[in-house]
């Protein structure tokens, strides 16, 4: 079981905690669950950009910045 905190910055800011019944999760997995097109966002962890292939650890907090509208 993995807990990932997600901050979605999309004009306004919304936060959610995702609980995933998986041993390993990537940023792309999170985007797929949230139905967000990777072409429309950038991802930050601890204020640094990360790629969609980055493997997340339990308790990680990521920021999804919507940089292109209409995704």
């Amino acid at each position: 079981m993995l807990k990932i905190k997600v901050k979605l910055v999309d004009g306004k800011i919304s936060k959610k905690e995702m609980v995933l019944n998986k041993k390993e999760v990537t940023v792309q997995d999170i985007l797929d669950i949230l139905e967000i097109n990777r072409e429309t966002v950038l991802i930050r962890k601890k204020n640094e950009l990360i790629t969609e292939e980055e493997i997340l650890d339990n308790g990680d907090e990521i920021e999804i910045l919507r940089v292109i509208s209409g995704g």
Partner: protein
């Protein structure tokens, strides 16, 4: 052990995946990759020459802000004048915030910044135009009025300020979307005008687009990495235009088939280049019989739209 994906070029921690090049890049390699492409676009298309007086159309958003920063940096290589112009359409709660970013960045770069509003030039703010259009049950959306009036305001202002070029922040996404929109509208003429190397009217200040080969997402990434402040909010009218539908579909295609956007853009550029070699596809703008501004028809689009608003 660090499980982060590594830079394809130097092995350091990757911050961005450039899927259409099958490369992941670290901070340093990404900045280098980004700048090289923009500089190549400027040089290949001979966008700037010594002695030019360049007006940057600055909205405060990421694209025009980066255009300003990149051209400012290029001043060390090419001796020309640079200043910023902003068109305030009059979108309450949106443009006013963006203008604050534009002011902050021009101050930071020590550049002259001139602001002109729709209200001053046309007598109405965009908010007022939208309200009037609703009352008149007009079929045209806010983006039609905004686009036509903004281009006119920019041209008038740049011409008055004796600019030899206007640099806009159009990126690869914008350009591909416009090609596709023109395609759906059956509008070849607009596509021909998009990358005009020759002057199509003495009254029309030539446009340059330094970021036309750069994807929008990478522009945002570059600004974030460099810590350049920009306005991020979305225009409240953005969802209403045809562009939004085209954008959603192009992003879906790009996410499934990486490189499609770039391929489509270069494919269209080639087609347009070939079309231009045909004599009948060359054209010059004449003047509007009502306002005297450049127009391909007897009455220009601005006068046509103003007539609608005035009822």
């Amino acid at each position: 052990m660090d499980k982060s994906p590594k830079c394809s070029r130097c092995g350091k921690k990757a911050i961005i995946d450039i899927r259409y090049r099958e490369e992941k890049l670290c901070r340093r390699c990404f900045l280098k990759f980004f700048e090289k492409r923009v500089h190549r676009n400027i040089e290949k298309n001979k966008m700037i020459k010594p002695g030019d007086r360049v007006a940057v159309a600055l909205s405060g958003g990421k694209d025009s802000t980066l255009t300003l920063y990149i051209l400012k940096e290029m001043l060390n290589k090419v001796k020309c004048e640079l200043f910023a112009v902003t068109v305030d359409e009059g979108i309450k709660g949106y443009r006013d915030k963006a203008i604050e970013f534009a002011k902050r960045n021009t101050k930071e770069l020590d550049l002259t910044h001139i602001i002109v509003s729709f209200k001053e030039i046309f007598g109405y703010t965009l908010n007022e135009i939208v309200e009037k259009n609703k009352v008149l049950r007009g079929a045209r959306g806010p983006c039609t009025f905004c686009g036509v009036f903004r281009r006119r305001a920019l041209n008038i202002l740049s011409r008055e300020l004796k600019a030899s070029k206007v640099a806009t922040g159009h990126n690869l996404d914008d350009e591909s979307q416009t090609y596709l929109m023109n395609f759906f509208r059956g509008d070849i003429e607009s596509s021909l005008k998009m990358n005009c190397d020759e002057s199509i009217s003495e009254l029309f200040v030539k446009r340059i687009k330094p970021l036309s080969t750069t994807p929008e997402r990478e522009i945002a990434a570059y600004a974030l990495v460099k810590g350049i402040p920009f306005h991020m909010d979305e225009c409240p009218y953005a969802q209403e235009g045809m562009r939004n539908v085209v954008r959603v579909h192009m992003n879906k295609i790009e996410s499934t088939f990486a490189g499609s956007r770039e391929n489509f853009y270069y494919f269209m550029n080639e087609i347009i280049k070939h079309l231009k070699t045909k004599e009948k596809m060359k054209f010059k703008l004449s003047s509007c019989i009502l306002c005297g501004e450049p127009s391909s028809k007897e009455i220009c689009k601005v006068c046509e739209l103003l007539k609608i608003i005035r009822g």
